[in-house]
Assembly symmetry: C2
Homo-oligomer: 189 residues x 2
């Protein structure tokens, strides 16, 4: 992998760890392999993350992503979530949520990723929502966020790759805001 | 895998083939393995699909899914796409689009899945749309469809699993319809 300009060793390790744990069985993942993929020494991986288990826990942790996605008042949350997700993808070259889709196969091994996502993203989102059917609306909002990351990855040379973050938020944000406000089609208060 | 009641051999083979090709390297996939997973004989797989290559081509083909998703007038297309996607998931126990996310890793092997999706889903959707920025809006609509399947898979015991197809369409359809109509927030004509 070519490292993006200005990427820190720690970011490179996180990117490599996400790739490794979502694409290989846990038993086959090695600190050495992750270090090689990140272009750093195995000792730097150990220095930053301690062990393979701690590295896996960091891959399965959506807490920091949820903090950033939810850091806006309710009336502006839909737009903010889109801006935050697309900006993170473009500046850090990592999607904050998309790795959860690689856990959707039949393997029990990545069940922890799904559980953490439901606790740290969906449930926290539901707590923030006003009105009825908060769990259902939170699940649908989570889908819109995962889907946005998926389509941006799928169309890397497409029209969305050329669009500004603000323009994507303008087009895609209202859908999230509608579900945030109550899914009734009323404008957010 | 337990076969759903009433599932035909051909459906079981298709489900097994999707699992195999999206989770294993192409070289490791065998007709025998797919037959075992589907609970049928290898000769039935050969009878229906001929060869491993033809089986892979059927996994990479989104043409039939796009036909179904697009089979509605423009004014009702958002609602129809949600109804169609969720109904297909529930009756056939297969998502019409979601397997494309398993091609989003770094492997070149599944590049064909991504290409076919862009040609057969995104480009056809763009052709149907009125107004400006059709490619961008089609990419965002594709994201909403992929995300819906992803969140339903992620929350299999969640609120969305308990909701009726119609209710999901009522909550989630307007977001797609807004992008279909032009992304300007005007109601569809």
């Amino acid at each position: 992998m070519t490292s993006p300009v200005g990427e820190t060793g720690q970011q490179a390790i996180q990117r490599a760890a996400r790739r490794a744990f979502t694409r290989q069985p846990y038993a086959e993942v090695t600190i050495r392999g992750i270090a090689a993929d990140a272009g750093v020494s195995p000792s730097l991986v150990v220095k930053h993350f301690g062990s393979k288990e701690r590295l896996f826990n960091s891959v399965a942790d959506f807490g920091g992503a949820a903090d950033q996605l939810l850091a806006a008042p309710l009336a502006d949350l839909g737009r903010h979530m889109v801006l935050s997700l697309v900006s993170t993808r473009r500046t850090e070259l990592m999607d904050p949520l998309l790795r959860v889709v690689f856990s959707l196969g039949n393997t029990d091994e990545l069940a922890l990723l799904r559980e953490r996502f439901r606790e740290q993203v969906t449930a926290r989102l539901a707590e923030r929502l006003p009105g009825e059917e908060r769990a259902l609306r939170a699940e649908l909002i989570a889908g819109q966020l995962i889907g946005l990351g998926a389509t941006l990855s799928l169309h890397r040379s497409g029209a969305s790759a050329a669009a500004t973050v603000e323009h994507i938020a303008e087009l895609y944000g209202p859908a999230l805001q509608r579900l945030i406000a109550g899914g009734t089609g009323q404008p957010p208060s």
